[in-house]
Symmetry: D2
Subunit: 436 residues, 4 copies
């Protein structure tokens, strides 16, 4: 039984189409840099915003019309929702989805009952994956919505909460494994602090590391070989999250010897809340071998909270795809739309507009990035700019074969440096506009 | 010959004094937590803002009246300025000062001449240190003012600039060593990027690490055993500095195996520009063994640039001193006033007002922090809050003796967690007010 | 029947008390600048946060323990809550409270039923006011929580929504009048836009003005002579609120000829979200005759949303009270705690800690401000600083008796200006510390 | 004698050109919405950044290579610079320029000498305008660079400074008049405060208004009929500028009865520093009849200072041109590039890259905006969205023929509002992408 009866499968109609329910750029089978767009982009629909979002905000109740949802917290309703979700994803043509445990299945009165609920819904998810060929990009556990997590999960001051969170992650990882999930994500939730006066930061971080090590061990014990991902976010819900940005996450992973096991899932809106561009976070993580997957959304830089809007800015998507192509792709990660329709976009059709726009913006960005790379216009400029390190004193510096004393001798003789060259920022910005 | 002839040595007159040119809290010999205030606070005056600041800003020329300065870039003028500086620091009663190489001595036409100029001024600095007993907290090199550094120093795309910077740091380190400096600071300057389109971030970071390793080696070769310090700053002058915050710096130091050699010099205004409280950065660095020294100033949280104002907020200084006392002090680091009088506070006397206010605010904060620690009101609250990790399942978690499976068994049996307790943020904030 | 049986009336115990459930500064009958603290401060408890807050946030469910609340939306529960509220306010010793219509009484199935519900609860409010002597500082209508208001209320694109909002404000104003409310507040709620592509800003602002004019007319028609107040807030819930800050509100009131009827209710957290200090907004409104009342809270300047925290910073409260004393007080406005306990401060006792801290911080600020004013240290400095306008060319400028041509003649003769004097910012900041 | 000998006049080569020194979109004679692009866009080059910028920043000396400049503050050098400037503007093909008095001519030892210098340079400007046909969009006076203005100009506490500023504006206005300037701009400079403790805000604002009234009177007296423009900026150089944003400026103009004489010059980077989008400020000013001209640049939303970058973002320029076309154009205002090349873009050729990119981005935005308007896709959506105000109760509300009581009767009968409709934000954002 279909729910979106008025909507057929979204088709590619090319750049001149004005049909709002068609793709103008995303053409799944089109080959870009040797791979299909499907494989380059690995689009994923997130379950929480798209199928569990209500449109509630701190100032008002939910508004989103989801006529298929009976409003109960029953397993039946949850399973029915799975059918709708897969119809949506199938019509949209996204190859992946992601979930939080408590978003797909209702919390039970006890942990055992919650486990049972999750297993029941997982059966339906498995069926739908089988039916549609849609795969699971990643799973995760919601460790922040229930009041028990008000002081955090792995970083709670209450040891029982740590144990509960561990139980929940264990189960979520097992379900992810069963459903063929290619990654497992840790998002901080409330792993941070509200106030330093009542916080033992050292003890909390030690606990968080212990938690992750246990997760790594558990993955081994069940044969889950998916990639672990850690998602940076600087603030909200807590005043300060421990996973502030890529640097804080990578520092934590290095400090606690987790870097071999965990990469990052970078989200645009979290990058900008932390004071970085998305491009910065992607490149910074990538050059350290830590870029695993992305949460493709956008924030509003004039607003200070996580608006999780759908990405439509071509500059943003071009920059993302440049970084992703530069590291040879994201797999087993992907481009997950951790994005929600506005509270005012309350009709089901808005879900299509939103995802089509996001997919098209990324597909457009992919084509632009590939064209820039094909022409080599940025990479050639950069290579030339650093050419003084390719020979002479620069090559020696890179080889580690000179000391401060050597360099001083060299420079005392030279007296002054070879002239610098213009960074040509304006020309390069214009150049990118040529490819739009 | 004295310059501040109207000003006598600033004296401690106690909390009820209304004399603006006296200390109300800083009483150098008063013992707090087993050390004199002098030794707890290790106040330092910075040479650049206090003796080289002009009051220029991006919209206007310098305003500061410095009648002792003849306005030339001569060595004579530089040496004369040293006399004034030491008279000021002596009358103020600060035990330390800090400098950048190009602030104490003029840049010459060649590197050799610059070295010579620095040596000449260092003679005067040595004399004045000897005469007054004022010590050098740290030295550093200015690798950002000269146009040659427009693309960075150690991270410049121009290898010669790397070599020049190396030469300059070598010399600055040697002068610091000669003057008995207890630390040597790296501040990013322009080590960052203006635009990612023209930047090879990986290569730049590799160069920065190579630079620091050479510095460490050079220190060994000359017998300099002072502490290296790396100062985080997120932005300004570049769009994005590599030393963004404590997390980025520590991640860099770990990645490039520099953590044994380098600690952090944390500045309040840089912390807040990066989206952190000063207390966060101090505690975060401290629990990783990385808190070396502080640049004591304050920003204006409604402004987006580094205002480097003198710190007068008692909440800020209390939080700083709580973190510093918690790690047993800062030595060989100190509390350096990397702060400047406002452009509108252009009379020499304003330098006294500014430093007296900053020293008094920190001395007051020290007394408040010590009182809070003596009563144990915060530490007892925190210890009690995490008590569930001191025994039972919590202790096992900390001991690393349980797995996810163990924790799941425990929690399946328990069904739900032991109740959480209020975080009492409001009560704790009120409590701090009781100690002001 | 009492609910807070363990709590007696909160007493003043003086500055040295360490009893967290006593006042250290707020002494209601103590005379400061010729009035009792009670009359200077006119403290008000807000109904919405304090009695209807749940602790829910965008990432999780409510946490706050309110054992008296049966969780239903019944009128009985609402009336019971009134009893609890007045017991709390009475024990706290605040002379005022404020409410939104939908916070005190449940929304009915129809407008008529909602009106009836509000009348029923108003009976209980009237009884409790009578019993306790607690007065109503202001009432308002909640025009943002219900989904009908998703596009705004007076600025909705749906004319029916305007009509519904009008009906609700009419009723809320009538109930406010009946309960002796001294003011009536308009807070924007969703009066703003999410996106300019779908917005007719001109038409929306015209509607908002029409709405306020109708409100003014209705007040006349029912004999309500309380002060209308407009509360600035820059953003949240909408991307951009029309009542952005004091300037935007006053410009609107001037443009639409409402300035004689409406003053401002200034909130700290809204001021800072708009990029202003609270002191700026207070003084800016005050010198235009537009400062009517304040919402006393604080934000976290490193967070970008309205955290509505209880104010405990003495610098903030001192600056507020300086501005308020400078205009001779706030009456008929007051100091309303539009503030909420943290989600993690979930026990009822935290409501006492929070309000006691806020009241004490303002009482302390009042005493500090009065002392500064008594000594004249700031006002004398300011008066002296502008003295050049008290005579000579300055007096002529102020008198409007000179033209550009006159001033040019004057200055061509003078050649250059009389020297400026230092602004002494650092000295003045130190000076304020002397009064803490 | 030519300076840019390697550069010919920049030509339009069409969208497919990859020539960085050609226009891809700006085709001066092409008709868009009934006017040539030249007349729709009215591009202006600013003298200060483009011909007086040095590349200095708070951390370093100037870097920009301007080989024609002999580095002196002589009138000869100033006049030579005029020749270079007009060659540049002519080759670029911009029809207008703007200047500050002290940027075109050096400050003299006395006011009289400064006047004389300005007259001498104005002769050269007049010659070049005559020779090239380039016109003066606006003039203004630099009231912020000289130390005399450290406490402000019209808002200085020093009456002499007011008089000096008046003299300077008088002269700048006369020169603007002589050169056929079509507007005269007031930009705040230091008209704001650094600290409220030493500030009499009321007196300062009164002085600012008196100053503007004198300017209006002087314009009348000399027959200058150009448009006065007031340029909002929230902060920098002062902590808080009085001309914070469009709302603050319009409120000021209304309060002091200046609205008939003064419109606004809106700058992108100032809009965003104040927390608004450029589109917001443009529309907000426009619907109040106050949009006079724009300073076309962009900021970096992750940086907190006025970076004044050249605008290259097509979304930004499209939104600007939508607002400008909606009000029927900007004349006598224009699109002035108040933008500077980066410090690292230090070669003269970078000035061409920068301006070409900005002009092309605006020309592209103009074409996109015109296409969107031609199709009516946004305006039809908006018109339809508010249709409930075109008849029935909505029309009565707009007509002012109903009261709160009428609306309550209407709604008591209706019980609930007609259903809302989706705001379709995502669809509209996608739609704009179709026109790129
Ligand atoms: Co995410
Ligand atoms: Co997010
Ligand atoms: Co510093
Ligand atoms: Co700084
Ligand atoms: Co409020
Ligand atoms: Co608020
Ligand atoms: Co401008
Ligand atoms: Co600007």
């Amino acid at each position: 039984m279909a729910f979106f009866t008025d909507i057929s499968k979204i088709e590619y109609e090319g750049p001149t189409s004005k049909n709002p329910l068609a793709f103008r750029h995303y053409n799944a089978d089109e080959i870009v840099e040797g791979r299909s767009m499907r494989d380059q982009l690995r689009f994923s629909v997130c379950y929480w915003h798209t199928f569990r979002g209500t449109g509630a905000d701190p100032f008002g109740a939910g508004t989103l019309q989801r006529p298929w949802d009976d409003g109960t917290e029953s397993v039946e309703n949850a399973i029915n929702r799975v059918r709708v979700a897969f119809e949506f994803i199938e019509k949209l043509g996204a190859p992946f989805y992601c979930f939080h445990d408590r978003d797909v299945a209702p919390e039970g009165a006890t942990l055992a009952e919650s486990h049972k609920n999750l297993d029941a819904v997982a059966d339906a998810l498995a069926e739908e994956q089988q039916r549609t060929g849609i795969d699971l990009l990643w799973g995760t556990a919601n460790l922040f919505s229930h009041p028990r997590y008000l002081h955090g999960a792995a970083t709670s001051c209450n040891a029982d909460v740590f144990a509960y969170a561990a139980s929940q992650v264990k189960k979520a990882m097992e379900v992810t494994h069963r459903l063929g999930g290619e990654n497992y994500v840790f998002w901080g939730g409330r792993e941070g602090y509200m106030n330093l006066y009542n916080t033992d930061m050292k003890r909390e971080l030690d606990h968080l590391a212990a938690f992750m090590h246990m997760a790594v061990e558990h993955a081994k014990s069940i044969g889950f070989t998916g990639q672990f991902l850690f998602e940076p976010k600087p603030k909200e819900p807590t005043k300060h999250q421990y996973d502030f940005d890529a640097a804080a996450c990578l520092n934590f992973l290095r400090q606690y010897d987790l870097l071999d096991h965990v990469k990052l899932n970078i989200e645009t809106n979290h990058a900008t809340l932390a004071g970085h561009t998305m491009a910065h976070e992607l490149i910074y993580a990538s050059i350290q071998g830590g870029l695993g997957s992305i949460d493709a959304n956008t924030g509003d830089l004039l607003l200070g909270w996580d608006t999780d809007q759908f990405p439509t800015d071509i500059y943003l998507t071009t920059q993302c795809m440049l970084a992703i192509l530069d590291q040879g792709g994201l797999a087993p990660g992907g481009v997950n739309f951790d994005a929600k329709v506005r509270r005012e976009s309350f009709e089901p059709i808005d879900l299509f507009h939103a995802h089509i726009g996001g997919m098209d913006a990324f597909a457009h960005g992919l084509k632009i990035a590939a064209a820039i790379r094909a022409d080599g216009v940025l990479s050639d400029f950069v290579k030339n700019r650093y050419r003084s390190f390719d020979e002479g004193i620069g090559a020696k510096i890179e080889a580690g074969s000179v000391t401060f004393a050597d360099l001083e001798s060299y420079m005392l003789e030279a007296g002054e440096v070879h002239p610098n060259e213009s960074g040509r920022q304006e020309m390069l910005e214009n150049l990118v506009n040529m490819y739009l």
